[in-house]
């Protein structure tokens, strides 16, 4: 095995030019896949954060009886889907409004009677349309409910947006993947074409297919490892040092996160496997040719 690994590294260094071209082409191919994947992941995270901000506000009638408030309070407290809630009386609602609007004193001065209702602000453990719908019907059964702002419209909008963006990015990543696999396979094949004579000679002197293949496969694995490393480094620099310096306010809201360790490991393993399969397939074409046909 040591011989094969040594051969793989030796071949890699002695065929620098073609290997550098391979690394360059493959790095660019992988770069686009990871770039769009990260874009999809970060937009998904952003939408998830927006979804987590969704709250249900149950406004109460001014003449609601205290027993009804108590029973609603008890229901919310015992409901397993609710992470937290708060109750504001009419007066507290007004105080909160005044505090919120302190920069616009004209607005506060105009208030004579308190027009604001008392309300419950409810936060859910999991933002899910079916949970919200169930909770709304349960709250509506209580006496003294004036209206409910459920955030369902916002949720529906975000879910549609999320699905659309994910679909578009999935299609892009898929196309990029096919494109990259095609480019990578052809690059590997071109590398082997440039060394067809070497393979022919190896066959002529009685070397088995396994012995011919293994150093080439190790060489491809080295190429893929270096390509992945360059690509991950390029993306790291782009996301961590360039992107947040761009004068786009939305980027601050998006709060980009880089690849985690598991994702980096997957990229390396996937690249290695792609190199393995690509080189195996490309070599098989050479191997199946008889010397007579070469």
């Amino acid at each position: 095995m040591f011989f094969f690994i040594k051969e793989g590294f030796s071949n890699f260094s002695r065929n620098k030019f073609i290997n550098i071209i391979s690394i360059f082409v493959i790095s660019i191919s992988i770069f686009f896949i990871i770039f769009f994947y990260l874009l999809s992941k970060n937009i998904g995270n952003f939408i998830a954060r927006l979804k987590s901000d969704i709250t249900i506000i149950a406004y109460l009638n001014d003449n609601i009886e205290s027993d009804s408030v108590e029973s609603l309070h008890y229901f919310l407290k015992s409901n397993p889907d609710i992470s937290e809630f708060k109750y504001l009386t009419k007066q507290q609602a007004l105080e909160e409004f005044k505090d919120y609007s302190k920069d616009i004193p004209e607005l506060i001065e105009g208030i004579i009677d308190n027009p604001l209702p008392a309300y419950f602000e409810i936060h859910l453990k999991k933002i899910d349309a079916s949970i919200i719908s169930k909770l709304l019907s349960q709250i509506n059964n209580f006496n003294g409910i004036e209206s409910i702002d459920s955030g369902q419209k916002k949720l529906n909008y975000l879910q549609t947006l999320n699905k659309t963006i994910n679909y578009i990015l999935f299609v892009i990543v898929f196309i990029m993947f096919i494109f990259s696999a095609f480019i990578a396979f052809n690059t590997i094949q071109l590398t082997f074409y440039s060394r067809a004579a070497e393979i022919e000679i190896q066959k002529l002197i009685g070397v088995t297919k396994f012995f011919i293949r293994l150093p080439f496969i190790i060489e491809s694995a080295i190429t893929m490892f270096i390509s992945s490393t360059i690509c991950i480094s390029m993306i790291y620099i782009f996301f961590n040092h360039i992107l947040h310096k761009l004068p786009l306010p939305i980027l601050a809201d998006l709060n980009f996160t880089f690849l985690n360790q598991k994702e980096i490991a997957i990229i390396y393993v996937a690249s290695f496997l792609a190199g393995l399969i690509g080189s195996f397939a490309a070599l098989s074409r050479f191997m199946s040719m008889s010397i007579e046909n070469e």
Binding site: N15, A197, E198, L204, I205, G206, T208, E292
Partner: protein, 222 residues
């Protein structure tokens, strides 16, 4: 060692006859010259021996084994019995002289210490030890051909097939190569050498000359 029985080989969809009903036998330790004009079938005949091509009919035996129908996976093992020396050397150009010579021994899983000893011995015998770290493109034609012979010898083949090994060399280097092959033959290796230069054939005593003409064996002498 090598036996041809009614071997026929056609090229280009059976329009060009390369070998026409060839039958002959080469015994262990023979030094055989295949002579004839260009296109007479010398190279095809050599290719048939190392299974570089398949006959259309007939039987070919190498070391008592009929090689016509052997499986593809067995071909490398057949070729290990045969050292082939080509006119264009066919050296591995990204490997040094030492690595070219040792290459097949690595494939045979021979221990490193044996490979070192044997490679050193062969390269010293062929006067190439001082060029062991050189790549083929830095060598002269004569040195490249000697390196090709060194590689062919490295796994102690029963047979050496040499296809116009002197074709790209001047007279002196050509004679050196013939001397090397003659020495190997003295040590018991069967040599089959294709050449169109009959002067080289005259340098080897007791050699056999198979004369080919348009794929047919015209004469066997010696």
């Amino acid at each position: 060692m090598i036996k041809f029985s009614n071997v026929k080989k056609w090229y280009q969809n059976k329009t060009v006859k390369a070998i026409d009903n060839a039958s002959f036998e080469i015994k262990k330790g023979d030094f055989v010259f295949l002579t004839g004009h260009s296109g007479s079938g010398k190279t095809t005949l050599l290719k048939l021996i190392f299974k570089g091509t398949n006959p259309d009919s007939g039987e070919i035996f190498v070391d008592n084994e009929n090689i016509v129908n052997i499986r593809d996976s067995k071909i490398p093992y057949l070729r290990r019995k045969i050292g082939v020396v080509f006119q264009d050397f066919k050296l591995l150009y990204n490997k040094t002289v030492y690595e070219n010579t040792a290459y097949i021994m690595n494939a045979l899983n021979i221990s490193n210490s044996v490979i070192k000893l044997k490679t050193e011995k062969i390269l010293k015998e062929l006067g190439l030890w001082y060029k062991r770290d050189s790549f083929p493109h830095t060598l002269s034609s004569g040195e490249q051909q000697r390196a090709a012979i060194a590689r062919a010898l490295s796994n102690d083949p029963l047979i050496i097939l040499a296809d116009e090994p002197t074709g790209n060399l001047d007279i002196d280097n050509g004679k050196t190569i013939i001397d090397l092959l003659r020495d190997l033959n003295y040590k018991g290796t069967t040599i089959v050498m294709a050449t169109h230069n009959l002067d080289f054939a005259r340098l080897v005593n007791n050699s056999i000359n198979i004369v080919l003409k348009q794929g047919k064996i015209e004469k066997i002498s010696g």
